[in-house]
Structures are given as structure tokens and as C-alpha cells.
Symmetry: C2
Subunit: 346 residues, 2 copies
DNA sequence: ATTTGGCACTCCGCAGAGACGAGTGCCAAG
DNA sequence: CTTGGCACTCGTCTCTGCGGAGTGCCAAAT
């Protein structure tokens, strides 16, 4: 799919993409020779442009406008042309100083991350809250509130805390709850929530549980605690930055995007998709497979705690985005969050 | 300030406001005689309009456009002209069916409320999360996670649950924690968080605490638990509805509004302001005292749990909004949420 | 004393015409 | 292969004129 391009084509394509990213205007042969270091006549550039267009890297909005990079061009640019430099000190500091406040809860930390991303990058920041289902169980705790109400609190290895108020059908004594707590903490330690649930369901099915009344009830309780835990949240910050993009003049398109933001499941899927991969990922336009996000790109990276990948974060905006500056920002932020989560759970 | 208007002026003003709300177009004397039930010639209407303009109820964008209601007109309309009817069954059902799922946590319930508001009203929904500081303490619980880490959970009467992970400077034994828990639960029951904190600080200052080491430490611990609890959140849903308003053509203005949304403290203040009042409140444009929200109106109502007002919710949009339909929606939703919170904590 | 019709005037919005500029493709000469 | 030239295409901008909707005011009608 990605045929190698001759040196010259490569060079011109790169110049067009960068110029377009900077100006948001279609690039003509003339402007290109003026503003870039290409020492060719406009006519030659035109020839190359025509070829690049034929190959699907460029596209003219109409006959006498300049050329605009296609998704294919961006893809090629990112995969083959882009050399991501390190994040400069100034930006590093800018990011760091957002996290000076210590002892943030994980939720607050992630929200701060999204906000920082959006302000530093001047794009819209996304942070996916870790999926509880696949995080590792650390501790479960039951607190009796009234005769029929039990508060369950459980904590994951990565320091996430989740509460759930349960109305029980029968009363538990405080002593029973303590026994149950101890038992469950022993049994489920080290398992992921998903595994823990599977275990519980399996045990409940087994007949030995039928004879041990307390055991049976403890399984019931924990099953209720773990069922339907709130999951799959995405924190979006800085949507107003999108309004500053010249692309915003296309009202219909921007409406589509804002609607997509409200359907968080969509963004969640995209962030989810990169979870297995390592490093920074870029998803361009139709690669999202959501028509609502046509013309949009995402830059994402995973963050992790002590025990492996937890979630993903990134920025989203029009495909015409300054990848070379944003990629390091996303990368650095992901690293930063990972470090902070590490410290917290030590 | 609000001088009484003659019957005729009143009638014409009302017609103009309603027509303008429906069409977003400046209203001329001619169109008014055509579309409303006013049996006067355009010329007479013009005279009245001129008077209304002089009194500050109307405003012409330019010489030969129609008239547009001013904030003063909206204020008068809402205070004197508007007769809020009950919410029709159809809409009631539409709202109800969003809450069929039972056993929602408070947070989820409030988020759902914001979403429902926005979809039913076709405006942007706002819900203020109750201020913990002023809610009534119900229970505090400490869970020892590791030698130096204690998880504190506390629960308010209204069923809100708050966690905090505390790094302690010295180790607590499980038994000590239990003692502390019992002591605190006894002492602080029925107080608001604010009062509880005040009590703790006072006790810590008193010398008797100095001699009781456990007491001292328990105060320290609870003070840390209650300090800086996350507070003052606003849930905003359905911002994309704003994009459908014809006012959206004024890009600059819309940018201002979206930026205001990101500064949640601003909306929080507005919602906060109505907390003392009863029933539905309408805040129009400059009454917000935020220039960012010029041309915007809020409709808010308070919701409460068993023990008094908890928070506020509402919708926000351009001042030209169909108050007569939105007010009942906001009102009904607030009532609904109050009922559901009541049930939950029984 | 109000109401109304008439009239002159204002001003926005729209559509068409023309100039301009940026860009293109192609071709033939370097 | 590169380049300059040339004819052509289009979108944008500006100007212009026109129609419509609205206004204010005045004098006649009620």
C-alpha cells in the first residue's frame, strides 16, 4: 500500500504537508517554491504534484486551488517522514508544574491530565479512566450502614477506589461481614476484577457452597458489589480549542464532532483500541471507522501503573494538526501520569 | 423599575417576545399584525413599539429592521406575563422513562439528570453536585491498606460517598482504627461536614486532647480525611444543542460561551446563587454578572433530599429560549430527582 | 384623542458583473 | 529532465442595483 516515493516527491510532499498544517490553506506550486527550501521551478513542482495527486497523496478542492494532503499523505508523513524530537524543556516544565500539587486522587489526577493536555497542546484532551474490569483486585471492604444497607468499597492495585451501596435482602451482622471480608480478600487477592467475578460465579454454581450458608451469602454480596461497576469513562477537556481552528468554519462538520464527543463510547472505543500497542499511536480520519470523526485525528498513548497498562490518553482535533509537536506532548504526559501513579501505589 | 404597562402595550410586548422566541427574527409591525391575534393596524402597533423601545423593552438592530426584546423585556415577560402550565403527560413520561433503571448511585443519577434535561429540553443541561461541606455527616470509616496507608470513606445522610487515601506519618493498628471510627461516628453524627471540621479543630486546640494520645491522633486523621474534599462540581451535558440555535451564527459569542462552560466555577456560582430561593429561578443575561454569558439565560431549580436542599439543576442557552416550556421541564426534573434521592436514603 | 392609511426614507440582503489572483495543464525550448 | 510561457479555470472580492421589510411622521378618518 505504501509504495516508496522518490526523494524529490518525498521532499515536496513533506513541504506541502507542513505548510498546510501551518496555514490551513491549499498549497500551490508557486507558494511552495517561495516558502520552502525547494530549489525547483513552480512548473517542476507542478509535475510532481500531479503525480502525487495521482498516487492519492494530494487532492485539489477545485481546479484552480492548491493541493491539500489526503489521509494517505498524513499516514505516510507520520510513518515515514516524521522525526519526533524530544519535548523541549520549556514545555516539559509547563506540564510538570500542573502536577505540583501532591496527593491527588486518581480521578483528580486524570482530570488534571486531560486539562493539561488540552492547554499545553491547544487541542482537545482525552483521558480514558482505567477499566475496572481488567484492573487487579487489591482489597474489598464492607460497611454496614443500616439493617439492610451495606456499603461496599473496593480498591484496585492501581489505587482506584469504587463504592457501591447495596440493599441486601437479608440482614448481615457485623461479625459476618468481617468474616466475609477476610475470606474474600484472601481468595481474590491478585486477581483481576473480571477473574474475580468469574471465580465467584463458578463457586456459586458449585455445590459445596450450597452447604456453607455464610460462604454462599458472601459470594452473593461480592457478586453484587462487582456487578455493573461504573466503567468506561472518558474525560474530555478543552473542547473550546476546536472553535479556534479554521476548520471550524465548516459548521456542519463541527456539529458532528461535538455530537461525537457527547457519545463518549465512541471515543472510548478508539482509546481502547490502542491499549495493546506500545508508544504513541496516531489514528487518522477514516481509520477511526466513525463517519462522525471524518477529518479528525487522534494522537494517543497508554499510561500504566506499577502493574502494566491502565488506560490511554491523548488529544483529538482536525487531521491537520501539528503532529511533530503534539506527539511528544502526549508521550510525555503519558509517561508523567504513569510515574505519578507508580509513586502513589508504592 | 418595572412600571406597569397598559393593557395594549402588555399584549403587544408579549406577542413580540413570543414571536421572537419562535423565529429568532426581529419582529416588525406588519408581521406582528399578521401572525398574532392583535386587531390593530401596523401603524398603531408601530406607535406602541416606539413607546416600548423608549421604555427599554425593545431594541432595533438597525433602522429598518424589526424589534428585538431586551433583557428587561424577558424579565418582565417571566415575572408578569408568563403563566407556567403544568408539564404535559407526554413529556412527563419522557422524563420518567430515563430513570427506570433503579439503584443508581447518586453520581450516576445526577449525570443522568443532566443528560435527560438536555435531551428533553433540547438545551444544555446543568446539574450541580451537592456541596459536601454543607451536607450532613452520617458515617465515617477507616480501612487500613498498608502500614502507612489508610483509606477513609465517609458517607453523608443524602447517600453521597467520598473516599480519600491518606498517607499517615505513623502507623495505626486495626484496633486503634476501630476505636477511632466508633468515637468519631458518635461525636459527629448529625453535624454538617463544616461543623464537624470546626469541632475537630476546636478539640485539637483544647488541651485535654493533648493528654489523650489516641484522641489526638483520631482528630488528626479525621481532619485529614475531611480536608479539601472534592467539592463544587457541575455536570454539563448536551452542549451540542447550542450548535443548533440560530444564535450560533455569531461565532465569537459562541466561543465565549463554550469557554465559560470549561470554567465550571462560573456556572457553579450561578447555581449556587439560587440555592436559598425556592422554586424555579430564571437568570437573564447580564443578571449573571458574567460578561462571558451575555445573551444567555439560565433556568434553575433546587433539588433536595430528605434533609433539605442539596443542590441545583437547570438548563442554559441563549436568552431567546422558550421559557414557558422549559420552566416546567426543569421544575419537574428537580422534583423527580428529589423524590429519587428521598427513596434512596430511606 | 386615537386610529389609520399613505408616503418618503433607510437599510439589509441578495444577485449579477467584472476584476483580480492564485493555480493548473500542457507544450515546446533549453 | 527542467523550465518558462501561455491559455484557461475558478474562487474570492468588490461594486452595483434592486426588492423587501421596516420605520417615522403626518394628515385624514373615526
Amino acid at each position: 500500500m505504501v509504495e516508496p516515493l522518490s526523494d524529490r516527491r518525498r521532499q515536496i510532499l513533506e513541504a506541502i504537508i507542513e505548510e498546510y498544517i501551518a496555514t490551513a490553506q491549499p498549497i500551490g506550486s508557486r507558494t511552495l517554491t517561495r516558502f520552502s527550501a525547494i530549489s525547483l521551478s513552480p512548473a517542476s513542482v507542478r509535475n510532481v504534484m500531479a503525480e502525487l495527486e495521482e498516487q492519492g497523496y494530494l487532492h485539489s478542492p477545485h481546479t484552480s486551488a492548491g493541493r491539500v494532503p489526503t489521509e494517505k499523505a498524513y499516514r505516510y508523513y507520520i510513518d515515514s517522514l516524521l522525526r519526533v524530537n524530544c519535548l523541549d524543556r520549556a514545555r516539559q516544565d509547563q506540564i510538570e508544574q500542573h502536577y505540583h500539587r501532591r496527593g491527588l486522587q486518581m480521578g483528580e489526577l486524570l482530570r488534571e491530565a486531560s486539562r493539561t493536555l488540552s492547554t499545553v497542546a491547544h487541542y482537545t484532551g482525552l483521558v480514558m479512566v482505567p477499566r475496572l474490569q481488567s484492573t487487579v483486585f487489591r482489597r474489598i471492604e464492607f460497611v454496614k450502614l443500616s439493617s439492610r444497607q451495606v456499603l461496599t468499597v473496593f480498591i484496585t492495585q492501581s489505587g482506584m477506589i469504587q463504592n457501591r451501596l447495596i440493599e441486601t435482602s437479608e440482614e448481615f451482622t457485623a461479625a459476618e461481614l468481617e468474616q466475609i471480608t477476610n475470606y474474600l480478600n484472601q481468595t481474590m487477592s491478585g486477581l483481576s476484577i473480571r477473574e474475580a467475578r468469574a471465580l465467584i460465579l463458578a463457586e456459586m454454581a458449585q455445590e459445596k457452597a450450597l452447604y456453607d450458608r455464610l460462604l454462599q451469602r458472601s459470594f452473593q454480596l461480592s457478586e453484587e458489589a462487582l456487578a455493573e461497576i461504573a466503567d468506561g469513562e472518558v474525560i474530555i477537556e478543552g473542547t473550546s480549542h476546536l472553535l479556534d481552528q479554521p476548520e471550524f468554519n465548516d459548521l456542519e462538520r463541527m456539529k458532528r464532532i461535538f455530537r461525537a464527543f457527547e457519545q463518549k463510547s465512541l471515543l472510548l472505543n478508539l482509546l481502547d483500541r490502542g491499549l495493546k500497542a506500545k508508544g504513541v499511536q496516531v489514528i487518522i480520519g477514516s481509520e477511526t471507522e466513525y463517519p462522525e470523526l471524518a477529518g479528525c485525528s487522534l494522537i494517543t498513548a497508554n499510561y500504566s501503573g506499577r502493574r502494566g497498562t491502565l488506560g490511554a490518553l491523548g488529544v483529538i482535533g482536525p487531521s491537520r494538526m501539528p503532529y511533530s509537536t503534539l506527539i511528544p506532548i502526549v508521550d510525555y504526559t503519558a509517561g508523567m501520569i504513569s510515574r505519578m501513579l507508580d509513586e502513589e501505589t508504592e
